[in-house]
């Protein structure tokens, strides 16, 4: 009986994470169209509901009532498993994300490793979807996408090693707590090169502009999910946007002081701004990073594939390796105020 209550309680908490997450995904698509619209001096969606606020729901219901096409050459089982494989890690990674002090589903010790494992799993969904559809475009898109994700994962992994060195723990809450203090105490400052590398690889990992050759709507039309329609497509879409939010959330936790206010620990401002709940700070910061995603998409032209690979292997990886050595020396020397 006690176990059953425990189980229900955990499921309730999972629901409390997933519900807002799905809602955020819905409104992220709305925000994307709205903000890019404003950047291009036009209005985004503004017909469905007040200010177009019901647009995401209209989109979801439209997709639900569309036919799910199973291409004749496709490997049917794998074709349907692929979207699940890309959705599952995008959602499950949220199990260890702390939204505030103690506000986390499960506080495991190897939190960061778990998140890295989950983001790596996403590539299976991509490659399987591209292969199972048995279409040339999706195959090409999957290859490009997988090679790109895998390449930038190295740079991202190195950047995370820097965070671990600075924090001395893999526990997500522990990483945030080791940044306690005002904004210049957060890891973005001592790890600035790693922070930049992390963010660029995060954008590339999610296949977002300017690194969206895998999608390449002007040549291979949407890449690995070209043969997907209706809800099966919506699942990929959901996974992509959930991943964007996840990468932004990680950027906040690892480099931007998680749930702390920018004035935490200062004499007068500190206590005043600490009155704002942890969760609010976390959400504000994540929203800031999500805005960057949209801003990049509206601003930069798409990279060429060889440029993407060169940036990943020949620029980002050397930069991180050099900074890891510098960082190790700073830590061994007790370079204050971060590492004393």
């Amino acid at each position: 009986m006690a176990e059953l209550i425990e189980l229900v309680w955990i499921l309730t908490k999972i629901g409390a994470i997933l519900g807002p997450l799905i809602l955020s995904v819905a409104y992220l698509t709305y925000a994307e169209r709205k903000i890019i619209g404003w950047i291009q001096n036009r209005n985004g969606p503004n017909r469905v509901g007040p200010m177009g606020l019901l647009q995401p729901f209209a989109d979801v219901f439209k997709l639900m009532f569309k036919e799910v096409v199973l291409p004749s050459n496709a490997n049917r089982f794998l074709f349907l498993v692929a979207p699940l494989l890309s959705l599952m890690p995008a959602l499950a990674a949220w199990a260890v994300i702390p939204f505030g002090a103690g506000l986390v589903l499960t506080d495991i010790n190897a939190g960061l490793l778990y998140v890295l494992a989950m983001t790596s799993l996403g590539v299976y969904g991509v490659i399987l979807a591209g292969w199972a559809a048995n279409s040339k475009y999706s195959m090409l898109g999957a290859m490009r996408s997988a090679a790109q994700i895998v390449s930038y994962e190295i740079a991202m992994g190195f950047a995370l090693v820097g965070v671990l060195m600075a924090a001395g723990t893999m526990n997500m809450s522990g990483i945030v707590q080791s940044q306690a203090g005002p904004i210049w105490n957060w890891f973005w400052l001592p790890l600035l090169p790693l922070f930049v590398v992390y963010w660029i690889s995060g954008v590339a990992e999610t296949n977002r502009a300017p690194f969206d050759v895998a999608e390449g709507e002007s040549e291979i039309v949407a890449g690995f999910h070209v043969e997907y329609s209706g809800v099966a497509f919506a699942v990929f879409f959901l996974a992509e946007y959930a991943n964007m939010i996840l990468i932004s959330g990680l950027a906040v936790i690892l480099f931007m002081g998680g749930w702390y206010s920018p004035f935490h620990g200062l004499p007068v401002l500190g206590p005043v701004f600490d009155l704002v709940p942890d969760l609010v700070w976390f959400v504000i910061k994540v929203a800031g990073f999500l805005y960057l995603y949209l801003w990049f998409r509206a601003t930069f032209p798409r990279y060429r594939y060889d440029q993407i690979m060169r940036l990943g292997w020949k620029v980002l990886i050397p930069v991180t390796v050099v900074w890891l050595v510098v960082l190790a020396l700073m830590i061994l020397a007790g370079f204050g105020p971060w590492f004393d």
Partner: protein
């Protein structure tokens, strides 16, 4: 300790379940009017030219191999990074030797042109 992972297992199951439910809903609510043209692979309106399970560029394979090597390197760096404070200069030196050897390998790949995509 291990019970901390139970919520993760549940989360994975819920995540998979959500996908299954969504796709099932799509099959139930959506129409089913398949025909040969609709089910054929999309190639911008043309008939598909040849089999899509075609030969592919060896560079994808190279990238995959390099990824495995470097991912392993990261796996070695993780525990080192966490205890760097305790192992001090000796630990730093040991890892410098390890990184140095891998760096030689990386330079070799670079010079050989394994990282070129033109």
């Amino acid at each position: 300790m291990l019970e901390a992972y139970l919520p993760i297992l549940l989360f994975i199951i819920v995540g998979l379940g959500m996908g299954v439910v969504l796709i099932t809903v799509g099959f139930v609510l959506g129409p089913h009017r398949p025909n040969d043209e609709k089910l054929s692979p999309y190639e911008c309106g043309f008939e598909a030219f040849e089999d899509s399970r075609m030969k592919f560029d060896v560079r994808y394979y190279l990238v995959a191999i390099l990824f495995i090597i470097f991912d392993l390197e990261i796996a070695f760096l993780f525990p080192w990074a966490i205890v760097l404070d305790e192992i001090g200069l000796f630990g730093f030196g040991a890892m410098a030797v390890f990184l140095g050897i891998l760096l030689i390998g990386f330079l070799y790949e670079w010079k050989k042109g394994a990282l070129e995509w033109e």
